[in-house]
Subunit: 217 residues, 2 copies
């Protein structure tokens, strides 16, 4: 990425910071007069002039002749993210190991988790939900206590993906890496120190695909 060809002055830098703070605080860009007041610029024409310089320096972009048209390039845009409903907990007991949330839980979640759009691919928003891992029962899937697991319903099956697998004969749902082999599934724990095993495709249902895992520390 190219560095600014033009050095910017201290007051221009201060103005840039103000615009950035304004966007972060208000969620939308400021007007020229907001900038003038907030960054203590002496006149509107100076605001306009500084904006030209900041644009040349590659720090901002803006739509001319349109209100609140300025944006700081280093800031993410709303379209870079999605919000995913938090719908419950992955526990180690089989019955509710990996819950499938109902419509109500999806619409009225306990919480909303912001996730970078680049992490969830082309998934439809309404197919995504988040679960919190509890205990170390998912350690074979390299998922730790407290991890956030973003799941996707209505996935396309992709060999080798990590899925919530319901094993009907064991009455148990866990996360495993899945490979299809004729009428059998090969279920491979994510931890390479553990051995894979096979189950009959009829006794295994793929309830959702893991889209990403997030661990706050």
């Amino acid at each position: 990425m190219a560095r600014p060809t033009q050095r910017i002055t201290e007051s221009q830098q201060a103005m840039l910071s103000y615009i950035q703070d304004y966007i972060l605080t208000n969620g939308r860009p400021p007007t020229f007069r907001d900038i003038q007041r907030g960054a203590n610029i002496s006149s509107l024409s100076m605001v306009s002039h500084y904006l030209d310089i900041l644009r040349e320096a590659g720090e901002i972009e803006f739509n001319e002749s349109s209100s609140r048209g300025v944006w700081v390039k280093s800031l993410p845009k709303p379209g870079d993210f999605v919000r995913v409903p938090m719908c419950g907990v992955i526990t180690c007991d089989g019955e509710h190991g990996v819950p499938t949330p109902d419509a109500d839980a999806l619409r009225n979640p306990e919480d909303w988790i912001p996730v970078a759009r680049s992490l969830v691919g082309n998934a439809k928003l309404e197919d995504l939900y988040a679960l919190r891992a509890r205990g170390d029962s998912m350690i074979d899937a390299m998922i730790n206590d407290g991890d956030l697991v973003i799941m996707r319903r209505n996935f396309d099956y992709k060999d080798g993906g990590l899925y919530a697998v319901m094993l009907s004969d064991r009455n148990e749902t866990t996360l495993k890496r899945v490979f299809k082999d004729g009428k059998k599934f090969k279920l491979k724990p994510e931890n390479p120190r553990l051995e894979p095993f096979w189950v009959d495709a009829r006794s295994a249902q793929l309830q959702g695909r893991v889209v990403c895992v997030v661990r706050a520390m």
Copy 2:
């Protein structure tokens, strides 16, 4: 969370969708006239009226008497996120196992990683950087090949946190959970199946703290 007390009509829903799309596309809210044109509303006063209804229904919020003051509540705001510079790779060889990026790498990164602000706590933006894990050398820290590790310089030491630890006698830097015990560090692999071990505090340097780990699948 309270459900909408008022059912919204189809055209109101269409208007809501238009506003949402506008924000996602343009990064800022639309004007009333944008909405009128884009969502095919017959008059400006109808736009205003529908906005009142959508606000009552809890779908939007807006600043009155201010241009482009409407926001769709289900959309994240720019302030919900930060962008972290991508500064290299964690490999299994000791020397460059967990690199500490220089100023230039921080300012001109290969890439920018969007991260939810709630994940990075109160860290200063300039202290954060991202590394990509390569190989399974970090598996003891529950970090997988391809994982994104968000690191923080200038951290406050917190007992039991995950740190990039430089072991000078081994000439090796790895990620371990660290507990202080007098003049010794207790280094505990994240994987509970592995045993912790002790090192002298003088031969171990904490280079950075792991703030969060993100795994795309």
